[in-house]
């Protein structure tokens, strides 16, 4: 800095500002080439027809083509169900290890396991569930012997349950969904200050009033926010579903995969529109998450 010339300060500042931005140029170049360019290519592709004419037909077909509508519907359903189920169960677990008064080593073990399970996904997760709840799975056999055949005289798979179905995929997704909720909600529950409860009790509030008037209003944004995050987490999943059902359950990612492999829609541009529809829904959920995040930052952490 000492040898900066005193003359022409304007030019120097322009130069140094340019040099400053040059420092992050590699990162921006990387982002432009490998994130933005591919995304924009799909975005523009979805507004053209096969002959290169501008059109809204592809976007319109997202809402009318029964295959695509079904795929979106299935994906939204499975994401919502597992976000809700995983969210509630994950919250109860986080409650158990924070306010619920379980010993410290239990808390530590559960947190560690949640870290592992929320990262355990894809093909291995699908195979693990086949070994568990598949037709000859370990838990299937246990349930058959000790519950279904003993009391009902039938087998689990006679009830209509099937791992390679909506319910099966939902159970599999839950394996990485509820641990994520545990990981995010545990610090939030730790953030509930003892003083708030004491203040409420001193003012004569019952436990019920404390929860409905104090604790839940504070916790609701992070609970909802994390559930939105879980929704996106399941919505973008491909490998787990493909490895488990082999494409039999046509969720949106499976349909896009089929389109990449060999233009099953007979219209590449419709495929791009389908992909953009997915990005749109993911973006909405991320915006929702960060919006809810703002509320919780006021009170927690």
């Amino acid at each position: 800095m000492a040898d900066t010339p005193m003359t022409a300060p304007r030019k120097a500042s322009w130069k140094s500002s340019f040099a400053k931005w040059l420092g992050v140029a590699p990162f921006f170049l990387f982002a432009i080439f490998f994130i933005l360019l591919p995304s924009f290519s799909l975005l523009t592709g979805s507004f053209f027809d096969a002959d290169g004419n501008f059109t809204f037909k592809n976007i319109a077909e997202l809402f009318t083509n029964p295959t695509i509508v079904t795929a979106y519907k299935l994906s939204i359903e499975i994401s919502a169900v597992t976000a809700l189920g995983g969210g509630i169960f994950g919250f109860l677990l986080a409650y158990a290890i924070t306010i619920g008064g379980l010993p410290k080593f239990v808390r530590k073990a559960l947190i560690t396991f949640s870290g592992v399970a929320s990262n355990f996904a894809g093909v291995p997760l699908a195979f693990a569930f086949v070994a568990t709840l598949g037709r000859t799975g370990f838990v299937t056999a246990l349930l058959d012997v000790y519950v279904f055949q003993k009391y009902f005289g039938i087998k689990l798979y006679d009830t209509g349950f099937n791992l390679y179905s909506f319910a099966g995929l939902a159970l599999t997704y839950l394996y990485f969904q509820f641990p994520l909720m545990v990981l995010i909600m545990t610090p939030a529950l730790d953030g509930l200050k003892r003083e708030w409860r004491e203040a409420a009790e001193n003012l004569g509030a019952t436990a019920f009033q404390y929860w409905t008037r104090v604790a839940l209003p504070i916790l609701l944004p992070p609970i909802l926010g994390t559930m939105v995050l879980l929704f996106g987490n399941a919505f973008g999943a491909y490998a787990t579903a493909y490895a488990l059902t082999g494409g039999a359950l046509p969720i949106i990612t499976i349909q896009i995969g089929a389109q990449i492999r060999g233009d099953v829609l007979h219209n590449p541009n419709l495929g791009y529109a389908m992909a953009m529809g997915m990005v749109f829904i993911m973006a909405i959920s991320l915006v929702g998450y960060s919006w809810l995040q703002k509320f919780s930052e006021r009170w927690l952490r």
Binding site: I35, L37, L93, I97, G100, F113, A131, F178, V279
Partner: protein, 278 residues
Amino acid sequence: MKLKFKSLWSWIWFLIGTLYFILPLYATLDFSLRMERDTIGFKAYRVAFADPKFVETFARSNILAVITIIVSIILIVPTAYWVRLRLPQARRIVEFITLLPFVIPAIILVFGMIRVFSTPVRIPFTDIILIQPLTTLIVNKFHLGTYILIVAGYMILALPYMYRAVDTGMRTVDVRTLTEASQSLGANGFTIMWHVILPNIRASLLSGALLTYAIVVGEVVLASFLGLDTFGPYLFLLGQHRAYEPSALTFVAFLLTWAAMGIIQLVSGEQGQTAGAH
């Protein structure tokens, strides 16, 4: 009495959670040990490990993971450092970019990559070719272009976790003071980066690296659509026509994830983060 009742419910939830965690793993382990009739043994593991195809694909996945980690660090550490020290006005946009992978799932990313890089990339509205098609860039029978694409893709999948790990590390060690101290002792930029900054954020780098490893080593979407024989697609194909070996490898994959997350918690004392190719 009231307290007891409360903790009873806590124990019940904990028990259900533990069962949900453990049962799939136990079932996989149990199945993988039963390859030989009427006896418990490690035959499935021996057979799986002895397959040359396993060795080849697993090695390739590990090499890809290491390359991804190294290139990610080279790209992200100077960027995060620069933003923190010299260019705070770029923080918002850089952080926005690091969040983009949450909006663009792997399947969409690979879709866009294939569309862009399988034809020449031109400067818009001109015929000037910026890059030749990467998917057909082959040097001495080595699909260099495809490897560039997959490493870039993996870097993107890991970007949110790597960037956050590095940035958090830099915040906790106060890079500004470190830099000023080094400068006053006459260190140049490279010395500061290599001898001062990197050693001080090594715990964060390790966390980021292990998360990246956990993402890359079993990844299947990018690899299968870009047509690379890595561990993920291999395991998937093995599952199509074998029974016991995939279970053995599934259990191994679980142990690898466990090891990666365990080390992260050990070095950072944090709760670990989550990532993964779901």
